[in-house]
């Protein structure tokens, strides 16, 4: 019965914390999408220079843990620029997810038939215009499922922000767990909130996917 008591009485704290989690995740993933698109375009570029930069970025970021990247930004860079906990976490999450999103976008772009780019170019469209008007809109539809998957991972990874003092879902549950000496209860409650967010998000992605399918 402890559990139900904690679950109900902690609602105001967790609602506020969930809002922080959503805000952090949304900010990070929005930036991650931009980073991902830029590096995906670099990776398919004809210039070796751009491909090299993109390869290096993706290799380094995918090859190191998010918590290391987060600490490097929050503690490491603090002597030069102090982003504060929210922006440190947002930047770390964005940079981290950006590498995975870049690969998702690259795959989506390369899955579009070559004939599409050729047809667009044969009509006098520049590479950039053809990319923007012809290739990316088609590629975007195809990357919705893997992108949704990456967003779910990003949402859950945002819990690491607790370690740079963010009062998001996990941070709040750590605090409540230790003050009430009720670890099992509060971590279970935190898990339920994450689960609810992921289920809600999955529902939205599925609806978007269905709508895109009807359109085409």
């Amino acid at each position: 019965m402890d559990f139900l008591h904690y679950l109900v009485t902690s609602i105001p704290f967790f609602i506020r914390a969930a809002a922080v989690t959503v805000e952090l995740t949304a900010t990070a993933l929005a930036m991650g999408m931009v980073i991902g698109l830029v590096f995906a375009l670099m990776k398919i570029s004809g210039r070796r220079f751009w491909r090299c930069i993109a390869d290096t970025y993706i290799t380094v970021i995918r090859g190191t843990p998010l918590i290391v990247q987060l600490f490097a930004i929050y503690f490491g860079l603090a002597t030069i620029v102090d982003f504060g906990s929210f922006w440190s976490a947002a930047i770390a999450l964005a940079v981290h997810n950006g590498a995975y999103i870049a690969e998702i976008f690259r795959g989506g772009i390369q899955s579009i038939d070559r004939g599409q780019m050729e047809a667009a170019r044969s009509l006098g469209m520049s590479y950039g215009l053809a990319m923007r008007r012809i290739i990316l809109p088609q590629a975007f539809k195809r990357v919705v499922p893997p992108l949704g998957n990456q967003f779910i991972i990003g949402l859950k990874d945002s819990s690491l922000a607790a370690f740079v003092t963010m009062k998001e879902l996990f941070g709040v549950s750590m605090q409540l767990a230790s003050t009430h000496f009720a670890e099992l209860q509060f971590y279970t409650i935190a898990g339920l909130y994450y689960l609810a967010l992921v289920v809600l998000f999955t529902f939205l992605v599925n609806r978007l996917e269905r709508r895109l399918k009807i359109e085409s």
């Binding site: 599409q116 047809a119 009509l123 006098g124 809109p137 359109e215």
Partner: protein, 261 residues
């Protein structure tokens, strides 16, 4: 006067020497049909004319101007050279009208209303006035290819390149596409057509060009090339396509489909 001229064109794909010293001249208003076995370099030659493939050696001269693919803005050349592909390559996320007005509006900055007006006229011309709102996936192959022709024509090109425009079509749909092409030829459009439709070549072409292993082996008026081929390789090829298993010279009829709507 020649609209497009090709001088000593050479193209390699890795070790494969795809085009070997190709020379070609096509006059304004002329319909040149390129025939030859698959792998003979026909499509490559066509794709070098709008620089979808960049030749390693030789010159492409369009309207008296040598095109340098490194210096010149190829987008300007491509506005004047329409291309129709074997697999149509319509934009699947746009409906028929949007497919046609996309390049005029985005590239030439034609006002949208004017582009739509022209697109409707073009659709009428290719017999698809009732398909304005359809998406490519809702159309048959023949209809898609006619939309693709309209899309290319919307840029008011001076030269039209057709890269095996009927090869991917079911046999019963070939006629409607060829009918549109024939009509276009009748209007005086300069056309270079790579095709296996010998009936079309015989009837519509001003000149037939036979390619083999990356070279132009023989060219001349259709009557001459088909009836009295000079080279043995041309004779071999023609005897295979005309009397072999494939459909022979009169495999299509100029169907009324294209002008009926």
């Amino acid at each position: 006067m020649s609209l497009v001229k090709v001088r000593n064109l050479n193209k390699w794909f890795g070790r494969l020497h795809a085009l070997k010293d190709v020379n070609l001249e096509v006059r304004e208003g002329e319909v040149a049909v390129v025939i030859g076995a698959s792998g003979s370099g026909k499509s490559t030659l066509l794709r070098c004319l709008n620089f979808l493939e960049v030749p390693e050696q030789g010159q492409v001269i369009f309207d008296g101007k040598v095109i340098d693919p490194r210096r010149d803005d190829l987008n300007l050349l491509r506005r004047e050279v329409g291309m129709v592909f074997q697999h149509f390559n319509l934009f699947p996320h746009m409906n028929v009208l949007e497919n046609i007005i996309e390049a005029p509006v985005m590239v030439k900055k034609v006002p949208r209303e004017k582009a739509i007006e022209e697109a409707l006229a073009l659709l009428h011309k290719v017999g698809l006035a009732d398909k304005v709102d359809a998406y490519p996936c809702q159309l048959s192959g023949g209809q898609q290819q006619r939309v693709a022709i309209a899309r290319a024509l919307a840029m008011h090109p001076r030269l039209m390149l057709f890269d095996e425009p009927t090869s991917a079509l079911d046999p019963e749909l070939v006629g409607e596409v060829l009918a549109v092409m024939k009509q276009l030829a009748g209007e005086g459009m300069t056309m270079i057509v790579v095709t296996h439709e010998m009936g079309f070549a015989r009837e519509v072409a001003d000149r037939v060009i036979f390619m083999d292993e990356g070279r132009i082996v023989e060219e001349g008026e259709p009557a001459q090339v088909f009836s009295r081929p000079q080279k043995s390789r041309t004779r071999d090829f023609l005897s295979r396509v005309l009397w072999g298993s494939g459909p022979a010279q009169d495999c299509w009829t100029p169907a009324a489909t294209a002008t009926s709507a």
